[in-house]
């Protein structure tokens, strides 16, 4: 289920084009916020990812039930 959230080739190409634009390079560089802020930021990103995944997960569960 989770792999469905991974981007397709077109999205990857679009990102790569943006990343290799020197004017945008800085917004792709490694971030060093210090240990604690980094852990907090990662936790927030993890929660956000779970929230994004949740509706799709529900839709899938419901449709699988329906199919049975």
């Amino acid at each position: 289920m989770l792999t469905r959230l991974q981007p397709g080739q077109a999205e990857i190409e679009r990102l790569a084009r943006r990343e290799t634009d020197p004017r945008r390079a800085a917004s792709f560089e490694p971030l060093a916020l210090g240990p604690l802020p980094t852990v907090l930021a990662l936790a927030a990103l993890g929660i956000a990812a779970a929230l994004v995944a949740l509706p799709r997960l529900l839709v899938r569960l419901v449709s699988e039930r329906g199919a049975r």
């Binding site: 560089e29 060093a32 852990v39």
Partner: protein
């Protein structure tokens, strides 16, 4: 006048065989398919990665390429990319060096420099007991290692715990500087040293064919690595050894000629000469004669050519290849910390793991940091939308630690190659592990992961790669020994039994394959084989 030696292939084996033969006074014609990409190379600036990223509007050409060109690890994209300027190393190989297999996915090259045009330059030596198991003479190999290390330039750390396992030639240059992440790991290792050593684990800086001091001699001008972190893309200063540099050096020599555009299919060993048959780039037949021939086309390709020369189809030759897995870990000491841009991009550290259950065999793990690759490669690995994946990758980059684990190899009847048809180039291959091998490999990875945890890393994933992804191949034309039953065998001088005038200089002749990087040993053995071939020519001339 025919040359003393035809050398087929310009990879690490061919380049070093030719160099040794020229040094020994012979004349050499090198035959090679010889794909190259000078324009791609020239497009990469000689500047730090961080500067290139912020200034070069053309950077997509070499940092990304038209698209992702090659991926030997199939779905496992973490370390499998060959960057755009290296892609030529694999061009045409699937089509012209065909291998059919459901179980084995080998990488082959038809490039000037062979797979050495793309290699990671890890250069451990093998230990005496390993050389003996392979069938190689220890003293002659010690001398040959010395020559290669001087010739190509190897940087290494003699004071690291790994030295007894991976170093033997004192002709090395000082070790390369470890990057910030590697320094943190080495510091953690120093604190836990006794405990992890007791588990059979040692850690040190990786020996690398990367110059920390320049090499200057006629025909060879190479500079020290500038720590620009551009080593996956360009090498304007020639600081990382490529066989092409040796070919360039040899081209200036009157006894050397390089003939490209030849795809070799077979040889014939006649009473006074060896004849090599091939086709040119248009598919027209061509033939070349030399007093002797040396095959250096890589273990799989040399087996193909030898089998076809004898018209042997359907009969199995052994196949050796190390299994490989990746451990993806986070070094917690680096989480949220800055890392220096000044670094080289190759393997930073090499771990040698010799647990009791391996009975003296070594497991080798090359340890990389994740830098100088585009964020997109990492961001799109996470199971999340890219607007979340990009910041996640940015937060993790400096702490990301990747161990490429190579496992010891055992010869077995379930690992083989055979020519499909006597008059064709298609090689069938099969590679299968038994339960014991699988369990031992899993145990190796678990053991190394446990040590990494003690060094402050969290392991996120273990990725098993398809058989053949290690790019370590050997054993397809094994040296004869009591009990050896392979249809085609070689002797101690690398000569093919039944083809007196044809020698094999690559890893096809080895009877065993240690888990450490094999290419330095390929080069040393190629020099040894070439010198024996020249000595035989001399003896013939005297007789």
């Amino acid at each position: 006048m025919i040359p003393d030696l035809l050398v087929v292939g310009s990879g690490p084996a061919g380049a070093q065989a030719a160099k040794a033969a020229i040094d020994a006074g012979a004349s050499v014609q090198m035959l090679d398919f010889g794909n190259d990409d000078p324009a791609g190379r020239a497009s990469v600036p000689d500047a730090p990665f961080s500067v290139v990223r912020r200034t070069d509007p053309e950077q997509a050409r070499y940092l990304w390429g038209a698209r992702d060109v090659w991926n030997p690890y199939e779905g496992n994209r973490v370390a499998g990319h060959l960057t755009a300027p290296r892609a030529f190393a694999l061009a045409d190989a699937d089509r012209l060096l065909p291998v059919a297999s459901d179980t084995f996915t080998p990488v082959r090259s038809l490039a000037l420099g062979g797979l050495g045009a793309a290699w990671g330059a890890g250069t451990p030596c093998f230990e005496d007991h390993e050389l003996v198991a392979m069938g190689l003479p220890v003293e002659a190999m010690a001398a040959a290692y010395d020559e290669v290390v001087r010739d190509i330039g190897v940087s290494a750390a003699w004071d690291d715990d790994t030295a007894p396992y991976v170093l033997r030639s004192r002709a090395t240059q000082p070790a390369a500087e470890p990057d910030t992440n590697a320094r943190a790991l080495l510091a953690a290792y120093a604190r836990r040293r006794d405990a992890v050593r007791a588990a059979g684990f040692t850690l040190g800086r990786a020996p690398l064919a990367l110059l920390t001091q320049p090499i200057r001699r006629p025909g060879c001008e190479r500079d020290a690595n500038p720590y620009f972190d551009m080593d996956f893309y360009g090498d304007a200063r020639r600081s990382i050894y490529r066989p092409r540099y040796t070919i360039d050096e040899l081209r200036a020599h009157p006894r050397f000629t390089y003939t490209e555009g030849v795809l070799v299919h077979a040889f014939a060993s006649e009473s006074d000469r060896a004849v090599v048959h091939g086709t040119d780039r248009r598919g027209e037949p061509v033939a070349f004669a030399g007093r002797r021939a040396i095959l250096a086309t890589g273990a799989l390709n040399s087996a193909r050519i030898a089998l076809r020369s004898f018209g042997i189809a359907g009969e199995r030759q052994p196949l050796l290849s190390n299994e490989m897995s990746f451990l993806i870990a986070l070094n917690l000491a680096m989480l949220g910390r800055t890392a220096d841009d000044r670094r080289h991009s190759l393997a930073q550290l090499l771990a040698i793991y010799a647990p009791d259950y391996r009975g003296g065999e070594r497991v080798a793990a090359s340890i990389y940091s994740y830098r100088s690759l585009l964020n997109v490669r990492l961001a799109t690995e996470f199971p999340m939308p890219t607007r979340l994946g990009v910041p996640t990758a940015r937060l993790l980059t400096n702490a990301l630690t990747i161990a490429g684990v190579h496992h010891p190899e055992r010869r077995s009847a379930r690992k083989w190659v055979a020519l499909a048809r006597a008059d064709g180039d298609l090689l069938n291959a099969h590679y299968e592990l038994d339960g014991d091998e699988r369990r031992a490999n899993a145990r190796d990875a678990a053991g190394i992961a446990a040590v990494l945890r003690r060094l402050g890393c969290v392991t996120l994933r273990r990725i098993a790669t398809p058989h053949g992804a290690s790019i370590h191949y050997a054993g397809t034309l094994p040296m004869r020994a009591p009990g050896e039953r392979a249809p085609l065998q070689t002797d101690e001088a690398g000569r093919i039994v039944g083809a007196e005038r044809v020698h094999v200089a690559d890893s096809a002749t080895w009877r065993a394959l240690p888990a450490k990087g094999l290419t330095l040993t390929i080069m040393a053995n190629a020099r040894r084989v070439a010198r024996l071939a020249v000595e035989t020519l001399r003896a013939e001339a005297r007789a």
